[in-house]
């Protein structure tokens, strides 16, 4: 049983906050993740400037971006530690976003190639 109070029009059981934060990682993990993010960003910029990698620039950059995205979402946004339900909310939106992006690119690619 937990206490409830009124704030910002929300009924908020406080007990859950303490429960959730117990699962959050410590400062060391955060710093390590940030270091990875910095390295990955440096790799991205390097890939951009190296002509020899031009042929694979798109897949390499997409993989690096996906890795950064996942690190932030999992560790800084705590999806790795919080309820799977919250991950589901976000991943569903993300899935729809990818479907939309892919569909629009395909539909307009057809238009572009059949303009004449």
């Amino acid at each position: 049983m937990s206490e409830v109070t009124q704030t910002a029009g929300v009924l908020e059981p406080h007990g859950r906050v303490a429960e959730a934060e117990a699962h959050h990682p410590g400062a060391v993990i955060y710093v390590i993740v940030a270091a990875f993010l910095a390295v990955l960003t440096a790799m991205e910029i390097t890939v951009f400037y190296v002509p020899a990698l031009k042929a694979v620039v798109v897949p390499v950059l997409l993989v690096l971006a996906a890795a950064k995205f996942a690190l932030i979402a999992l560790f800084f946004m705590h999806l790795k530690y919080d309820s799977w339900v919250l991950s589901a909310f976000f991943l569903f939106g993300l899935l729809i976003a990818f479907v939309l992006l892919f569909a629009m690119m395909m539909l307009f690619a057809y238009l572009t190639h059949h303009r004449d």
Binding site: V10, A65, L86
Partner: protein
């Protein structure tokens, strides 16, 4: 009328009691629902009068009853009003608000102030749409606003300015509502109410809310592009500059078709509640109905292209959209047959509500069958833009949604007002509606097949369309008369109607377990749900099979003690707030300033908006002091904090918003004509700002870590660093924009410029909101009450901040690092 079970012995103050200020500042979901009801009934009358005028104009060939210009305005406003101001807000805002929280055993929605804000912003948007009446400049390009007719060059007046801004405001309201309902259903169900015990109407509201969250962002993006085109001389939809008006159609119908299901799913919910009650049978195939709903929602996001067969999307896309459009008939068919099976063999009570519900099954099926015809691309090409389409969507939205709304109105009115509607008047109204509706819209199928185009102001005398048009006009007035009877019935019931008992229909769900009208707190004690049809099981036992026999024998069911009790201790309810009204007024002020080109009004509106939002954040200084124990919120939320759930759902919706912007950028990058193009982007400079933003995320989590350990000063330090790094990012972005401008790249230069500035600018706007949010938290942290228990406030701001960061990860890669890669 059948014998009614005895009234529940609840002597409690109704939620309706209270003065004008109480209604203005209310956050009670039932009052908000009533505010929606009054507004939507008013707009329904306006939309109906507009339809009458349209029908009078089409009475005879070469008619000049109204001008062509006014005709365009009337059909545009009729469609916009009925969709955005009547059907959707009536189903979700009115019925959803009133009954969904009660059906799940909650005392209110998850975010009551957001709920009130949703209504007041809805009203602001609705009034804004109608402001054009003052100058005779109503929107005039159809409810779909096809580009490039909507461009300033082709539509120079203020008409469409009201439309664009009004719809943007309404979109904000709808998103708030969808988010609120979604979190409420996920996290506030009573103990024991598992997903497969939820009433079907609540299921429909849940799925509708999800659709709102993913369908409205593309519309918002499409409207923003149109707004930029009209006010800032960009060319998102102007083919002369390499752009394509087809972009609008994609963005609009990405919203538009799910919108059809946003309007029909709650109607399905009404029918699923009403038929079992009047048939005295459980809903047939409940699990299949749930799965069918989910399948409909899933497919509804993949059928938008069937509105665009005539645009030439190519055989592959046409085939894909045709298949998904045909597939959606399967889950819909499951629903129709389940309803028929529910009624079959039931002990029917032929109330007005049941009349409308049964009629809905027939009328909607007719509309559904003509809908399947459109799924076949070759057939669609013959029928598109004819009156056949008008007939189809009126059979779906009037025959489906409106018939269901009327059924729901007769069903739930006693609970809302505590008074019965006249059954005699209701049945007269029903027959007028049936005759008027079918007489008006059935002949439109034939006129369409004979070639009568839709949206025409008048027609030639020798085309053979005259008699059917005259017949339709007569029937439209019969239909109009049916609504006059309805309004009369509503008014008379409110004034002198027979008093309703708590459970006049021998209902099955929890709303019938409380007084009519309900008390402000809904439940004296939170109910415990032990089966589907929760109240039926409370009355008749878990199996509920004794119910029909007892009712037929005139026996009074035993009312469970838990439902009879009055509160024995004070119940803590959300306090009223004036800020929802002020925020809506601020938005209206901003919109007005934009339309009339008065920047000072816009600035005042923005300042008022920021002030209201910040003041609302500090509205309850007694935080943490006035407490009591509850158990119900623990029941089904799975330990998820409501605010966190709400924010994550919002971020999911934001993904779709940014995907729409990014898709436009990728498409337009390859179509760019002239201008500096993507080669102007500077990687070294942007790398610095990217690094700053990434490190700001580190500072943010360290701030959270500090407050979780109750180290306030350390928290303030890290939060301050986060804010500073955010400002560095914004500063570099401002420098970059200014530099590009000097180099000749602006929003007006080319397709690259407009899509780049819009995408990156919107991200910058999000960063600015994040800075404002974190600054508010930083100042709040100086309060003595701000300690470890407020860590969630920091975490929520942090979640938003990290989201802005990951969006930038994508933008940095796609826009900057892939600048030499050709787009779609």
């Amino acid at each position: 009328m059948a014998a009614q079970p005895k009234a529940l012995p609840l002597e409690v103050p109704s939620y309706l009691e209270g003065g004008l200020l109480g209604w203005l500042t209310t956050v009670d979901h039932k009052r908000v629902a009533v505010l929606y009801a009054i507004s939507t009934l008013l707009f329904m009358a306006i939309g109906g009068i507009e339809a009458m005028l349209l029908r009078l104009q089409l009475w005879s060939p070469e008619n000049h009853f109204i001008s062509a210009s006014l005709y365009n305005q009337l059909f545009t406003m009729h469609g916009t009003t009925m969709i955005f101001l009547v059907v959707m807000p009536m189903e979700v805002g009115f019925f959803g608000n009133f009954f969904m929280p009660i059906q799940i055993g909650a005392r209110d929605v998850a975010f009551p102030r957001l709920n009130a804000m949703s209504f007041w912003i809805f009203l602001a948007g609705a009034i804004f749409l109608h402001l054009g009446w003052l100058w005779g400049l109503l929107p005039n390009a159809g409810w779909f606003g096809y580009a490039n007719l909507t461009e300033r060059y082709f539509s120079p007046g203020l008409n469409l300015d009201f439309w664009v801004v009004g719809l943007l405001i309404l979109g904000v309201s709808t998103l708030m509502g969808g988010l609120n309902f979604f979190v409420t259903i996920i996290a506030m169900r009573a103990k024991g109410m598992s997903y497969l015990r939820m009433p079907m109407f609540t299921w429909m509201i849940l799925v509708t809310s999800i659709l709102i969250l993913i369908a409205f962002p593309p519309l918002t993006v499409g409207l923003v592009f149109l707004l930029l085109d009209r006010f800032f001389d960009t060319h998102f939809y102007v083919s002369l500059f390499g752009a394509t008006p087809i972009l609008w159609q994609h963005l609009f119908w990405l919203f538009g078709h799910p919108e059809v299901y946003i309007m029909i799913l709650p109607a399905f919910g009404f029918i699923s509640e009403i038929l079992p009650v009047y048939a005295r049978k459980p809903l047939f195939g409940y699990p299949m109905m749930v799965y069918a709903t989910i399948m409909i929602a899933f497919l509804s996001y993949g059928v938008w292209g069937h509105h665009m067969f005539a645009t030439g999307m190519g055989p592959v896309a046409d085939s894909a959209f045709a298949i998904t459009s045909m597939l959606i008939a399967i889950p819909t068919g499951i629903k129709i047959f389940s309803w028929l099976a529910t009624v079959w063999g039931g002990s029917l009570r032929m109330t007005t509500s049941l009349y409308f519900a049964l009629a809905m099954l027939l009328e909607f099926t007719i509309g559904g069958l003509s809908g399947v015809m459109f799924a076949a691309a070759p057939v669609d090409l013959q029928q598109t833009d004819t009156y056949f389409v008008v007939a189809h969507f009126h059979y779906v939205l009037f025959g489906g949604s409106m018939f269901a709304i009327l059924a729901a109105l007769y069903y739930w009115w006693p609970k809302i007002t505590g008074r019965m509607l006249s059954e005699r008047l209701g049945k007269i109204e029903f027959w007028f509606t049936i005759i008027g509706f079918n007489g008006t819209f059935l002949p439109m199928h034939f006129l369409g097949m004979w070639g009568m185009p839709r949206r025409i102001y008048t027609y030639g005398a020798g085309l053979g369309w005259t008699h059917l048009n005259q017949f339709e006009t007569v029937c439209a007035f019969i239909l109009g008369l049916s609504f006059l009877i309805l309004y009369y019935n509503l008014i008379m019931s409110t004034l002198i109607g027979e008093k309703a008992t708590a459970d006049p229909w021998d209902g099955r769900s929890l709303e019938w377990s409380i007084a009519s009208p309900p008390p402000a707190y809904n439940f004296a004690h939170s109910p415990v749900v032990r089966s589907r049809d929760a109240f039926w099981a409370m009355k008749y036992g878990r199996a509920g099979s004794r119910g029909v026999a007892m009712f037929m024998a005139g026996q009074i069911p035993a009312v469970p003690e838990s439902q009879q009790a009055i509160p024995t201790e004070p119940i803590h309810m959300p306090a009223p707030s004036i800020y929802p009204v002020l925020i809506a007024l601020s938005l209206m002020m901003m919109g007005s300033g934009l339309v009339i080109g008065e920047w000072r009004i816009i600035i005042i509106g923005v300042a008022a908006l920021i002030a209201s939002v910040v003041a609302m954040a500090f509205e309850y200084p007694t935080y943490g002091q006035d407490t009591h124990e509850i158990e119900e919120a623990e029941a089904s939320s799975g330990g998820i904090d409501l605010r966190k759930a709400g924010l994550w759902a919002f971020l999911g919706s934001e993904c779709v918003f940014f995907a729409s912007l990014i898709a436009t950028y990728v498409v337009y990058k390859s179509r760019n004509i002239g201008g500096p193009g993507a080669g102007i982007l500077e990687i070294p400079l942007t790398s610095i700002s990217t690094f700053a933003l990434l490190m700001s995320s580190l500072a943010m989590v360290l701030a959270l870590n500090a407050i979780q350990r109750n180290k306030k000063n350390l928290m303030r330090l890290w939060l301050g660093i986060t804010i500073m790094l955010g400002l560095v990012f914004l500063g570099v972005e401002a420098y970059e924009f200014a530099h590009f401008y000097r180099e000749g790249l602006s929003m007006q230069t080319d397709l690259f410029g407009q899509s780049f500035f819009t995408l990156v600018g919107f991200h910058g706007f999000h960063v600015s909101i994040g800075v404002l949010w974190l600054t508010t938290v930083w100042f709040a942290s100086f309060s003595d009450k701000f300690d470890k228990s407020r860590a969630l406030s920091v975490e929520l701001g942090g979640l938003y901040w990290h989201f802005v960061d990951i969006v930038w990860v994508i933008i940095f890669t796609l826009v900057y690092l892939m600048q030499q890669v050709k787009g779609a």
